[in-house]
């Protein structure tokens, strides 16, 4: 077993047994404010080496009774200790007001934005989340966005974060663990290819719709428009062809997506197919409704409707 693995085991054990020491806290509600009881500070490796150098300088100047050298060494030593306080002050009073998450499908990284707030400006604060590190300055209120890798659909708790800094001189590292009570929803990953949805009522609907023609407005011709709808008189006075746009519920484009129609597939495959259909419907500008065992979502369209449906898919058992 490698040293690092050993160390990790030790760390996990310590976090289990000594929660106060390692700050393996329960998840906390936002906002979270960093304060002296949760900020830790140790010299960095370079800080230790520099302290050693200072000691050598001090003994040397004492030995040669070189008072100017001793004064210089004392000055450097005092500056070093003040830099420790500055490092602490960089984190002390820093608040995480809130977290916002973007949207992502499983397997793609999801953007999570932390809303930091500080009463005085901080520089060179860093945020570790997983393997990623993000450096930022905080001036009053600052948004910091990091990407978290995702694997599965569903709720993903934000992993424990480390907010840390080596400001101002890299001699001391101050850090604080933050474990916000916040989870982001990861959407299911759509299947890549597959059949389209079956639409049993399409023909009948179209028939019915053509009965009650109800002219609403004229619009530009789009390829695929029926020649019968072209408003010839109006087009003659225009550069391009105009088409009579009928106010119709566009039921000809409406998809009724239903969990129950997808027989013979396991749950995840069903979810993946529905997710693809949702994506197609959004791309084609259709309206759709979605029936799921957990809920039935009525007809709607556009990105917000898509997000609602995807979220419903994401939380399916």
């Amino acid at each position: 077993m490698s040293v690092r693995a050993q160390w990790q085991r030790l760390q996990h054990w310590a976090e289990r047994r000594l929660p106060a020491l390692t700050r393996h806290r329960r998840q906390e509600d936002l906002p979270i404010e960093l304060h002296r009881r949760r900020i830790y500070i140790v010299p960095t490796g370079f800080g230790m080496a520099f302290t050693l150098l200072l000691l050598v300088m001090m003994v040397g100047s004492l030995n040669y009774s070189n008072n100017a050298g001793l004064l210089l060494t004392c000055l450097l030593g005092a500056a070093t200790s003040i830099s420790m306080l500055v490092a602490f002050r960089t984190l002390n009073g820093l608040r995480i007001r809130g977290v916002r998450a973007g949207h992502a499908v499983a397997g793609e990284p999801i953007d999570v934005t932390f809303d930091f707030e500080a009463r005085h400006a901080r520089q060179a604060v860093r945020l570790d989340i997983g393997e990623a590190t993000q450096a930022f300055d905080v001036k009053e209120r600052t948004d910091v966005t990091v990407s978290i890798p995702t694997e599965h659909r569903g709720w993903l708790s934000i992993p424990r974060l480390r907010v840390w800094t080596t400001w101002p001189m890299g001699l001391f590292r101050a850090w604080s663990w933050v474990n916000p009570h916040y989870a982001v929803l990861v959407w299911p990953r759509p299947e890549i290819t597959g059949p389209g949805p079956t639409l049993p009522l399409e023909d009948h609907r179209r028939q019915r719709l053509h009965v009650g023609e109800d002219l609403a407005s004229l619009r530009d011709y789009r390829s695929g428009d029926s020649m019968r709808h072209v408003a010839w008189k109006a087009s003659a006075r225009h550069e391009n062809l105009l088409v009579k746009d009928y106010e119709q519920p566009q039921a000809n484009q409406e998809w009724r997506l239903d969990w129950r129609h997808l027989r013979g597939l396991d749950n995840e495959a069903r979810i993946a197919r529905l997710a693809r259909w949702l994506g197609d419907a959004l791309a084609q500008g259709r309206q759709w409704s979605l029936w799921l065992p957990s809920e039935a979502i009525g007809i709607g369209g556009g990105p917000s409707h898509y997000a609602r449906c995807m979220s419903a898919l994401a939380v399916l058992p």
Binding site: R4, Q8, R36, T44, G45, F46, F50, L53, M57, M58, V59, G60, S61, L62, N63, Y64, S65, N66, N67, A68, G69, L70, L71, L72, T73, C74, L75, L76, G77, A78, A79, S81, I82, L85, V86, F88, R89, N92, G93, R119, H120, Q123, A124, R126, D128, E131, T133, A135, F136, D137, P159, R160, T165, T166, W167, P168, M169, G170, L171, W175
Partner: protein, 656 residues
């Protein structure tokens, strides 16, 4: 959350140009402060290498290839060995280290390299102080810390990118903030009374007074205007023409050189003093044993020995600033009874030198008989009247140096006159000896001390007269009286470098008070002074244990102060409310106290009724406050500022 202790450098693998610039500035600083003791060609070569590396990294980015580093290192080591003979010791060590710093820069690309290089530069800056710890040198070195600290700071991933001078400012602030703690630590860190290793003897940077005197050689000391010592007197200082500081007494003359002769050590110098003066001398390092004293010292200071001829020699060479207290006689009979051996010693002259001088002395002796005083007068008259002149660059003298000087060249400086006069006296049968030391000095009125420079070095004679003992005769005074009455600079005329002339010299004399302060309070703060640190608090001898405890206490106090600062948070208080409170205090002072049940509007209405003369102002204040408070959700900073300004300008007149 694995390996959180590992520093992550993903985004900052290569240091940016600004950091590298700062690193180059730091290195240039280091080279500059070491330039004084490195060989000129080595300094130049290192500067060129630094400049080339800077140019290369800016315009041809990349590392310096490895095959180039080895020859460069070999060149550096070779150069140091060639110049100094070895690699170890203070000078070669610092030369090597300065070179290594420049080499380190050639491979500095990662943040870690930059950190290490800047730390090494700090070490080298401190090492520069081993070669001289004057105040200006120390300040310059401390200034060199700025780019070093800023280098570290610039490695932090901050998003602001200030200009270079602005970037240096925070480091300056940090250093200034560190001062109190640094000074406390400096005062309290226990000094070593004996070094842990090595000894402190340093090679002489300045040639102090020499323990022999050869008038035929140019004495560099006479144009060296660095401070030799500083003297403060208890009571008024002696007049200019009595400021003779004795260092060496020369007895033996071989026709060319005067040498000192070890006279017996005595606990008390055989002097009958009519008037004495107490004083304190702070002597710059001379790397010699001799301690200069005013005129004739009565006893030797601590850790030194006095000899019967008035020389005082310290037990150890003076390698650091040395402070000592003394008492000297100014009206005295010095050794009125001369034993026969000493008398013979003071008449000794080499055979076969200076026949014309001997003849002249014989002639005087025959003319004046036993009147020694008349012979002395005759000699001084000769110096005064026979066309002798004072110059720092006299013509060279031949084998019979005194003959040559007295009868041919007629020019010289104090050593010539003292030597010739003493030889004349001895030839005439009067016991005589040469004394070297300092004469004159600059009286600093502000600091109330006498600054004696190396250029004030002087040589004079002492003759022994029956009933009076040793009497000081300064033959130079006969030739150039202003040498004695006004000091070395005026005697030298226009032979001094530009910076020793006129007002510049007087400014430098005044400025010396700062050097003196620095010497006394910083450089001269040794183990002995430290032990006496707590004398004002009734502790005679502060030992290491006490000092350490004090140090810990003080550091803890500073730590608490620092923590208070770090933990302090700006009160979240509402500025509008704070301004209203201030207004309330003002009104309460005028007699209108706000009642507990009263809202601001009611209170201010009542106040304007009570102070009818200021009704307009108070109404305005009230409207401002109400608007600030209730008109909008988030009041503009503009209206807040107006309100606070109005409160500040409001001065209630008391009710009658």
């Amino acid at each position: 959350m694995t390996s959180w202790w590992r520093t992550k450098h993903h985004a900052y693998e290569r240091i940016n140009d600004r950091t590298f610039d700062l690193l180059c500035i730091t290195s240039a600083f280091v080279l500059a402060v070491h330039a004084g003791h490195l060989a000129i060609w080595l300094t130049l070569a290192l500067f060129v290498a630094l400049g080339l590396r800077w140019w290369q990294r800016r315009y041809r980015p990349g590392r310096v290839p490895g095959w180039l580093k080895v020859p460069m290192l070999a060149f550096l080591v070779g150069a140091v060995v060639l110049d100094y003979g070895n690699l170890f010791g203070r000078e070669p060590g610092s030369a090597l280290a300065a070179g290594l710093l420049v080499l380190k820069l050639s491979e500095s690309e990662a943040p870690r390299d930059a950190r290490v290089a800047a730390a090494f530069a700090c070490f080298l800056l401190m090492a520069a102080l081993l070669f001289g710890q004057g105040m200006v040198a120390t300040l310059v070195v401390a200034l060199g810390l700025l780019p070093a600290l800023t280098t570290w700071r610039s490695l932090e991933p901050t998003q602001t990118s200030p200009t270079l001078p602005r970037q240096l400012l925070p480091a300056l602030g940090l250093l200034v903030a560190s001062m109190p703690l640094a000074l406390t630590a400096f005062v309290l860190v226990p000094r070593l009374s004996t070094p842990l290793w090595g000894n402190n003897s340093q090679s002489a940077a300045h040639t102090g007074l020499s323990d022999h005197m050869s008038p035929n050689e140019f004495n560099e000391l006479l144009t060296d205007d660095t401070a030799a010592m500083r003297v403060s007197f208890d009571g008024p200082p002696p007049p200019q023409d009595q400021r003779y500081f004795r260092a060496f007494v020369m007895w033996n003359y071989d026709g060319h050189d005067w040498q000192r002769s070890e006279q017996p050590v005595s606990t008390s110098i055989p002097v009958e003093a009519a008037r004495t003066i107490s004083y304190h001398i702070s002597l710059e390092p001379t790397h010699q044993h001799v301690l200069p004293t005013l005129d004739v010292p009565l006893a030797a200071p601590l850790q030194s020995q006095a000899h019967t001829d008035g020389e005082v020699l310290a037990d150890k060479p003076v390698d650091e600033v040395r402070e000592y207290e003394l008492r000297s006689a100014v009206n005295y009979r010095f050794q009125p009874n001369l034993d026969i051996a000493t008398r013979m010693h003071a008449l000794q002259l080499p055979d076969g030198f200076d026949p014309r001088t001997h003849a002249l002395a014989e002639q005087w002796r025959q003319r004046y008989g036993h009147d020694n005083a008349a012979i002395i007068r005759a000699a001084l008259n000769m110096f005064h009247n026979d066309g002798f002149s004072y110059t720092l660059l006299p013509a060279p003298l031949g084998r019979d140096a005194v003959d040559d000087f007295l009868f041919n060249t007629h020019e010289g400086f104090c050593e010539h006159y003292a030597s010739a006069f003493t030889v004349l006296m001895r030839a005439a049968g009067i016991p005589a000896r040469v004394v070297t030391g300092f004469q004159g000095g600059f009286w600093n009125k502000i600091g109330q001390y006498l600054l004696v420079r190396n250029a004030d070095a002087h040589a004079w004679s002492e003759v022994w007269l029956e009933g009076r003992g040793w009497v000081r005769i300064d033959p130079t005074a006969a030739v150039r009286p202003q040498r004695i009455s006004q000091g070395a600079a005026s005697a030298a005329g226009n032979q001094l470098p530009w910076y020793q002339e006129g007002f510049l010299e007087s400014m430098r004399n005044q400025w010396d008070i700062v050097n003196r302060w620095w010497n006394q309070s910083v450089i001269g703060f040794d183990a002995l002074r430290q032990r006496g640190l707590l004398t004002p608090f009734g502790i005679r001898d502060a030992d290491i244990g006490l000092l350490t405890r004090l140090l810990v206490i003080c550091i803890t106090a500073f730590g608490a102060l620092g923590l208070a600062w770090a933990l302090w948070r700006r009160p979240e208080g509402d500025p509008a409310l704070a301004a209203l409170r201030s207004l309330e205090r003002k009104l309460a002072h005028a007699g209108v106290v706000r009642r507990r049940s009263e809202g601001p509007q009611h209170f201010l209405r009542r106040a304007s009724r009570a102070l009818p003369g200021q009704r307009v102002e108070l109404d305005h204040l009230m409207r401002c406050y109400i608007e600030l408070r209730y008109a909008t959700v988030e009041p503009s900073t503009e209206s807040l500022r107006t309100f606070r300004q109005a409160v500040r300008n409001f001065h209630p007149r008391r009710m009658v």
